[in-house]
């Protein structure tokens, strides 16, 4: 995998993980163009598209688009499974995850991603193990210092927006 982007239906970036070295300017350009392309797709279209010399695999969960860029030799269908696994992990961790969780706890979303993928490849295929590792790391954080406390999952803002729809209820 070369990179993964999470963005909302309005095109706002929620998470960006780059596994290739690119300048900030290039990243912004790619993000902008890709977001536009994916948002322009109709709902019934297939999840794969060719973009520049990459294969793009994307899937929408509620109000969030999960978008991965893979290389020629990579298997598109299994990438869909990877995306799904990541969403499952988030769901387990946050308890019925929604976009708001990812907005307010973006650093946690990164931590979870980094326990699941490394260098663009899956490092752990067991859901249980990934979650256990995160749990332990969180405990470590709490025990070794008392400054940042683990917040309860899903801090909501007063207005109910699409962002509070659980990702699995699309």
């Amino acid at each position: 995998m070369q990179f993964m982007l999470l963005f909302s239906r309005q095109g706002k970036l929620r998470l960006q993980k780059w596994y290739v070295p690119l300048s900030d300017k290039e990243k912004k350009k790619i993000t902008r163009e890709l977001v536009q392309t994916v948002l322009a797709r109709k709902p019934k279209m297939c999840s794969f598209l060719e973009w520049r010399d990459l294969k793009i695999v994307y899937k929408r969960y509620a109000s969030l688009y999960f978008c991965c860029a893979i290389e020629d030799q990579d298997n598109e269908l299994i990438t869909l499974e990877i995306i799904h696994r990541y969403v499952e992990l988030l769901d387990k961790y946050f308890g019925s995850v929604c976009e708001l969780d990812i907005i307010f706890n973006f650093e946690k979303a990164y931590f979870i991603l980094d326990e699941f993928l490394l260098g663009g490849e899956a490092q752990e295929t067991s859901k249980k193990n990934v979650l256990k590792a995160i749990e332990q790391a969180d405990l470590l954080q709490e025990n070794l210092d008392f400054q940042i406390r683990l917040l309860p999952a899903g801090v909501l803002s007063p207005n109910i927006s699409s962002e509070s729809t659980g990702l699995f209820q699309s």
């Binding site: 970036l13 998470l15 960006q16 780059w18 596994y19 070295p21 690119l22 300048s23 912004k28 019934k44 279209m45 297939c46 999840s47 794969f48 598209l49 060719e50 973009w51 520049r52 990459l54 294969k55 020629d72 030799q73 298997n75 598109e76 269908l77 299994i78 869909l80 499974e81 990877i82 696994r85 907005i103 307010f104 973006f106 650093e107 990164y110 931590f111 980094d114 326990e115 490394l118 260098g119 490849e121 899956a122 490092q123 752990e124 295929t125 067991s126 859901k127 249980k128 193990n129 590792a133 332990q136 790391a137 470590l140 954080q141 070794l144 210092d145 400054q147 940042i148 801090v155 803002s157």
Partner: protein, 819 residues
Amino acid sequence: MPAPIRLRELIRTIRTARTQAEEREMIQKECAAIRSSFREEDNTYRCRNVAKLLYMHMLGYPAHFGQLECLKLIASQKFTDKRIGYLGAMLLLDERQDVHLLMTNCIKNDLNHSTQYVQGLSLCTLGCMGSSEMCRDLAGEVEKLLKTSNSYLRKKAALCAVHVIRKVPELMEMFLPATKNLLSEKNHGVLHTSVVLLTEMCERSPDMLSHFRKLVPQLVRILKNLIMSGYSPEHDVSGISDPFLQVRILRLLRILGKGDDDSSEAMNDILAQVATNTETSKNVGNAILYETVLTIMDIKSESGLRVLAINILGRFLLNNDKNIRYVALTSLLKTVQTDHNAVQRHRSTIVDCLKDLDVSIKRRAMELSFALVNGNNIRGMMKELLYFLDSCDPDFKADCASGIFLAAEKYAPSKRWHIDTIMRVLTTAGSYVRDDSVPNLIQLITNSVEMHAYTVQRLYKALLDDISQQPLVQVASWCIGEYGDLLVSGQCEEEEPIQVSEDEVLDVLEGLLVSNLSTPVTRAYSLTAIMKLSTRFSSVNRIKKVVSIYGSSIDVELQQRAVEYNALFKKYDHMRPALLERMPIMEKTASNGPTDIVQTNGETDSTILDTKHLPNITQPASQANDLLDLLGGNDVVPVIQTTVPTKPASAGGELLDLLGDLSLTGGPTPTPAPSVPMSQPSFLLDGLTSQPLFNDIAAVIPPMTAYNKNGLKIEFTFERSNPNPNIAVITIHATNSSEADMTEFVFQAAVPKTFQLQLLSPSSNVVPALNQGSVTQVIRVLNPQKQQLRMRIKLTYTHKGSPVQDLAEVNNFPPQSWQ
């Protein structure tokens, strides 16, 4: 100073901003606060501040001033700090940044930390974005961790090693010993990452590949266990045990089995097993099948297995899930070369996919359809493809049109069908057809001699309907110019001949000239066509008028042509029929370009187009060369270029190259016709050599002495132009055997009325004394009635100070020179 606000607070606040400007203001304020906090070297809140900075960075605001702070966080002893610090490093500190290298020491320390989660953080950071220098420095540490018994670290180390190898391929050897026992692990995470590592090594080095071939049995065993073992809750995905690992193993098997009989045989069974036993109701099962099919096709599998694979793909094609259909089409594209017949069985399904709503699927289906066209199914397939051309997106039309032309050329069952197909393409997608298919089509039409009347009639009718599609208009004007006589004479065998008068035809062509829709190239085509009709129609005056009007056109190209045609009318009318006669059948030059897929996209520029048509109508009175080259014929073979449409960025690999052979061959850049470029017609003939001007010499004709008096001897040597036997080229050689030079030498000649004479300029006008040199001059004689050649010559020169003039008759021409 009050404590900096918490991250969540900031996020909440920023989200309340209603406009971009408001948001920017908040961000700027917060950035200022963060900056002063950094300046104060505040350890307590550094982590919080960097986290906020990262949030703002994600929104798109600059955050570079936080880079050093990330380093400080990484160096901190607090786990929270490290966590945020490493996250910040991964987001802000890629290898292009100057401070990137400063991380190396911290990472090194953390790789040896007592807490595995800290080690994990540093492995992760290194594995995601370590620069080559960093990788070089730290490879040893990674290698050490690869051998640890802690599976949590081992799996991360394996992927980190993959990254190191990608960055610094020379270090691959270093990891070889550590790979020894990787596959004996029970832990799936380690297994998975090990397989990835092995894959990377095998892909990069053929030595490694041969070394690891011995692992095939082990891999087969692991795969077997995964399939056969019962339900394992930890790794189960919709009833399949660890699909991620299965897919990776299949991929590694593919690489190991490719080109190797033994390995391929060893995996035959397991592949068959996976192919038949995998549950296909969910995406995950299909993902495994997909990988299996790819592997079967790539290794040296037995034919039964291959058929099985293609059938799986065929089933995929019927799947409701679009993604599966897409993947099937992609894979079929890869295999169509090698297993053509098997794929043919699914042709109808593939053709149905042309009607799919999804763009990617349509494109794949189109490519595959072209690959499947053969002599047997051409009629049916073409119907579908033409229908597709009608309704597809503009992006596809160019590729589709080119593909159709190519297929039609290869497999056309009859000339009429071929012409009809071309017509259909031109009328439905005429403006998307590539520019260089115009000459191709013209050549095709020229060669179908018996279809000329039919073709020109249909093209004429198409023009009446619509003049906006340039390629169509260009081909049509060319044809009308060539075969206009057939059009008005109303002879057409293939369909009902239409009644059209010369004036109507000229109306249409003139309409093209003035229309806003016509490009300059099209206008040039129509002007030339009108000119050609001057020898085929009787309304010459009208044509003359049109031509002279355009003599003052703003368009330089048109102006030039018009001026030359005018000159043709006025001064060289006798040559006009010969110049404007029917084009001979053009020979297609062999395509000598590579047959791999070439990214060409209509690269011919229109100048080549122009010179191609120049041979037909060249400048009347200029270099004699050109006149002869034109009539010489053989030298002037308009080179036809076949093009390759742009290949979309498809799943490639070497397999795809094979397609180039079948459907789309690359073409060379054509050599421009050797005729003269558009220079000003010069009516003054500058010095030409007297060398024979063409190489197709007919029978050798004996030279003769035409005149020999007072020391001046004139010899005639002959040549006949091969394709046009009516022209004799005589070269005179004047020599002077007296002691004094003959200066101001002028040779003139006259011929009887039935002949036409052209005298080119002499090599000089001094005939040196004592045969020290000669004056040569070329005479061209056109003898259409093949009468006996006779000539009267007049010589004037100055000899020894006094002018000399003489007249003589030359009658002793050898018969071969005029028969």
